[in-house]
Amino acid sequence: MEMINAEIFTLTYGSMVRQLVADYEDVEEVNKQLDKMGFNIGQRLIDEYLAKSKTQRCSDFRETAEKIAKVGFKMFLNTTASVTNWNADGTECSLILEDNPLTDFVELPEQLSALKYSNLLCGVIRGALEMVNMDVECSFVKDMLRGDDVYEMRLKLLSSSTESYPFKDDD
């Protein structure tokens, strides 16, 4: 991967979030737009991930979550997340980020306390996984900008299907 000074990304992202806050006034709408923009990015980014990560096909959702946390975050944001809090049937987990490059230099003013500043990341994960036939829900449940001790994203698998050709051999 070609790497650059992360400040360029961080500051452009911050400036974009400020613009969205000005555009929409309603913080919930900003959260939604960030997620949507992330989704579009994720759909493109998955190609680069698959091409450059040199990883094998994931056998189950547990492995997928680990790959996102250890390989995906490392490749693109040069940080890693840990995967914890699995539910019993292995369809829900938490990604914990202690170090989030998006929020360098950021402080949230009080009137924006409902802003999910890093919500783009949830959208990216959702968009990327959709391209490999996994429907997931992803949302922030803890945010250091809002006083929590870590950043925690809750990731929930809704459905997945293995890729199959829409035709049979004898057709």
């Binding site: 790497m3 000074n5 992360a6 400040e7 452009t12 400020r18 613009q19 929409y24």
Partner: protein, 174 residues
């Protein structure tokens, strides 16, 4: 800026691409041009502030432009500007022969169909115009941070070469 944190270069590409896409498709709020101007200018100011924090103020116009060509360009667009020309009356043309943000820009070329002429693709320069709004605004913001009020436009007629024209208006009083 030196030893600061790193991230993948493509993160910036994806973000810039999605910014254009978002403001092109949304129906309410500011226009694409207005939004990217504001986003880029703010980011450009902050980047220049961090780039230039350990150096003496750049009092001469040419000094400020040279700083943009070398250090700012190197940091943001990963190489120095290849050629700088000026009319010595406040207009500068910064030529980047391999402008990094647009090297991978390409138009969808429809496959040729039998017996039909190839449809003419949209001119690449038109396609590029939207994607140059953010870089222009970044440069304008950086100059503003250095104390210079300027208009910045870009010409992508011969991609991947891009000519940025900076017209200095006046020095901001501070």
């Amino acid at each position: 800026m030196g030893k600061s944190r790193q991230c993948a270069e493509s993160c910036v590409d994806y973000l810039a691409l999605e910014l254009v896409h978002h403001y092109r498709t949304q129906l309410q709020g500011p226009s694409l041009q207005a939004a990217l101007d504001a986003v880029g200018e703010r980011a450009g100011r902050q980047l220049a502030e961090r780039c230039a924090r350990d150096r003496a103020p750049l009092l001469e116009q040419l000094e400020a432009v040279k700083f943009i060509c070398k250090e700012f360009w190197g940091e943001v667009f990963r190489k120095a500007v290849d050629n700088l020309r000026t009319n010595h009356r406040g207009t500068f043309v910064l030529r980047d022969t391999q402008f990094r943000w647009l090297v991978r820009l390409s138009q969808n070329q429809m496959p040729a169909q039998l017996g039909q002429p190839l449809p003419a693709p949209a001119a690449k320069a038109d396609l590029a115009a939207d994607f140059l709004l953010l870089p222009c605004a970044l440069v304008r913001g950086a100059l503003a941070q250095l104390g210079w009020d300027a208009a910045v436009t870009a010409d992508a007629a011969s991609l991947p070469q891009v000519d940025f024209t900076v017209v200095m208006r006046q020095q901001v009083q501070r």
